[in-house]
């Protein structure tokens, strides 16, 4: 009996050892940012990518959800101490934390989404070609507009948001050279991301001036934009995740940022030993940005709009159209 028991223990530990050896190759960790992993937006996108990775490979990913600003750095360091080999940070707010922790643990791999300005030999950064996605929804906006006037509401006035605006203007002007684009930024402090009342006011001011499609790149402020457009019987365009369902029939489409692709790629590359540092820019070609088409906006997207947007996407893919990136020149030529 005792022999059987020993054998059983040996077998269990052997199995355990085997999986440990396999898992020792990679031990991934992800730090979600404020909002949590089911925020129906940015973090949830990352979660979907992480889930896909776990489903495919069977490797568990350690997770932490930041609930206040001071936890970011601590959480990252704790993950590194607990033996994580590859750590994924979510969002530009974690940039400072990851730069610090990556320097402290040079033998570990780090990756961060929505950051492009850091530089470390063990850090991969993902940025998105938001200008390309914004161009697509700009084409849709111009064709859906009856007045020839469309609007854009940005959150905090930073180059990243100007990049959205510039790509959008490019798309609008490509589809309708005479169109007017009204642009508003909500503010210059981080509170500009969470001021739906102001977002609604800005959208209303644009609608008063004749705009009938308003695109937002403003986080929580954008909910006010969508609501104001819906209240006035006009159209809004969502951003980051698919927001078509927020006000069905009033959201023309959404500019999708496929953060799940970045999350999945980080861990997959780390597992396959293909992890590289440096900057990865995901555009239409890489499946990083796209426009949303589902049952909520099917009735709004006419065959003409669909054809034009698909054509624009093909043109960008083939290089026939190159959308200007605001961040490269700090100016917008459109």
């Amino acid at each position: 009996m005792k022999f059987v028991k020993t054998l059983a223990i040996a077998a269990v530990s052997a199995v355990g050892f085997a999986t440990m050896v396999q898992a020792a190759d990679i031990k991934p960790a992800v730090i979600y940012d404020m909002g949590g992993k089911f925020d129906k937006s940015f973090n949830e996108g990352v979660y979907n990518g992480v889930k896909k990775f776990t489903d495919e490979t069977g490797i568990e990913v350690m997770e932490f959800e930041v609930t206040n600003e001071t936890q970011r750095e601590q959480a990252m360091r704790r993950m590194a101490e607990r033996g994580a080999t590859v750590i994924l940070g979510v969002g530009f707010a974690q940039a400072d934390a990851i730069a610090k922790v990556a320097a402290e643990y040079p033998d570990k791999q780090f990756s961060i989404i929505d950051v492009s300005w850091l530089d470390a030999p063990n850090l991969r950064q993902y940025s998105f070609k938001e200008h390309e996605g914004s161009y697509l929804v700009g084409v849709a906006a111009a064709l859906a507009s009856e007045t020839g006037k469309v609007g854009f509401v940005g959150g905090m006035d930073i180059p990243l948001i100007r990049k959205f605006a510039c790509g959008y203007v490019g798309g609008v002007k490509a589809a309708n050279g005479n169109a007017d684009v009204y642009q508003n930024m909500t503010g210059t402090t981080p509170s500009a991301w969470n001021d739906p009342a102001k977002g609604a006011e800005l959208a209303k001011s644009q609608i008063d001036r004749g705009a009938d499609v308003v695109y937002h790149a403003a986080g929580g402020t954008g909910l006010g934009v969508i609501q104001a457009a819906a209240d006035a019987g006009k159209l809004a365009i969502g951003v980051d995740s698919n927001q078509n369902g927020l006000a069905p029939g009033s959201v023309l489409t959404s500019m999708l940022k496929r953060v799940d692709v970045a999350a999945y790629e980080t861990f997959k590359d780390a597992m396959d030993g293909k992890f590289t540092s440096g900057l990865q820019a995901l555009g239409i070609a890489e499946g990083g940005v796209d426009w949303a088409l589902d049952e909520n906006n099917a009735s709004l997207i006419t065959a003409d709009i669909k054809a034009a947007v698909e054509q624009a996407r093909k043109d960008i893919l083939s290089g026939a159209v190159s959308v200007h990136n605001y961040e490269s020149t700090s100016s917008c030529p459109y």
Partner: protein
């Protein structure tokens, strides 16, 4: 020209919409501070109320339930503030600050626990909000040149809470200056000893004042999340409580001047929204930053000398202690 006139009226209309939470909060602060209790917690109470309104409206689908819940939650926080500063004679600024911090954290935490959407509530449907009321003949009146649009754009098309706020200003003035309760309230903020000598409870009056402040803040919060907006978003008050406090000081703790100050802040906000990216003759396009900073610059300029000396209630910030 007619077009410019319409634009101007639309700006005034936006002014009113933006100023409503400020007006309600300023009146709330007026009651509290006239009774001698500093109320920095306007911001926190409004945030809690906005959250309660958004949550209840989302869960029940009824805007009235949202409003009632908002008022109750806000009054509860008022009572906490009162308990700390009236009953326990604590520091009023610190108590207010604590409520603001508590509200900021609690709303997000509860929001994540209930809806798991990063501290937001779901977008509300039309039925779960106070929608705007089109007054009769608005369309017809709009056709009358020049004067017609005033009725159509500014007076018509507001939700019920806008009217509540305007009535609140009148009611505040009436209660504070024309009733016995108001007289005692002012006395308790100037010289609580005198009120006490007259045999009236100082604590009782101050509690009543902070409860009224709670009710008004509750309406302001509900306006943000279920009337003007369509759902709660974390930190959605965005400093409006503090601006209301500034307006109250501008207004020298009087209802109508405070209303004017709120409207001025609202007007600057509305103009800022409309001036961005517009070509102005001679100057050209005004940079965004300059426009966004305008309300604050004006605040400093006005505070520096264009309004008379602000004289707060004499006993403000001082807990009342009976002679030992």
């Amino acid at each position: 020209m007619a077009d410019l006139w319409i634009q101007f009226l639309l700006t005034l209309d936006a002014t009113l919409r933006v100023a409503i939470p400020l007006i309600l909060c300023a009146m709330a602060g007026l009651f509290s501070e006239r009774s001698g209790i500093i109320d920095i917690s306007l911001e926190g109470k409004m945030l809690m109320a906005a959250f309660a309104a958004g949550t209840l409206a989302a869960l029940t689908g009824s805007a009235i339930a949202g409003l009632v819940g908002a008022i109750l939650v806000s009054v509860m926080f008022s009572l906490i503030h009162g308990f700390a500063c009236i009953t326990h004679k604590g520091n009023q600024v610190i108590s207010g600050l604590a409520i603001n911090i508590l509200a900021s954290g609690l709303t997000v935490t509860l929001g994540i626990a209930i809806f798991a959407k990063g501290g937001q509530t779901p977008m509300l449907s039309r039925e779960a909000r106070f929608s705007s009321i089109e007054l009769p003949f608005a369309e017809a009146a709009g056709a009358i040149p020049f004067i017609g649009p005033i009725y159509k754009e500014i007076i018509s098309g507001h939700n019920i809470l806008v009217w509540c706020a305007l009535i609140a200003v009148w009611l505040t003035g009436f209660v504070i200056f024309k009733t016995a309760f108001g007289l005692r309230l002012r006395a308790v903020g100037e010289k609580p000893e005198a009120v006490d000598t007259a045999g009236i409870s100082v604590s009782g009056l101050r509690y009543r004042a902070v409860i009224i402040a709670g009710i008004l803040c509750g309406i302001a919060g509900a306006y943000l999340s279920i009337a003007h907006g369509a759902g709660f978003v974390r930190e959605m008050t965005a400093g409006k409580g503090y601006i209301a406090l500034a307006a109250l000081i501008f207004g020298n703790w009087r209802p109508v001047p405070a209303l004017a100050a709120c409207l001025m802040f609202g007007f600057l906000d509305a103009v800022a929204a409309r001036l961005q990216g517009v070509e102005v003759p001679v100057i050209g396009q005004i940079p965004t930053d300059l426009i966004l900073v305008l309300p604050y610059v004006l605040t400093v300029v006005l505070l520096a000398g264009f309004i008379g000396k602000a004289t707060p209630p004499r006993a403000i910030g001082r807990p009342y202690v009976k002679e030992r």
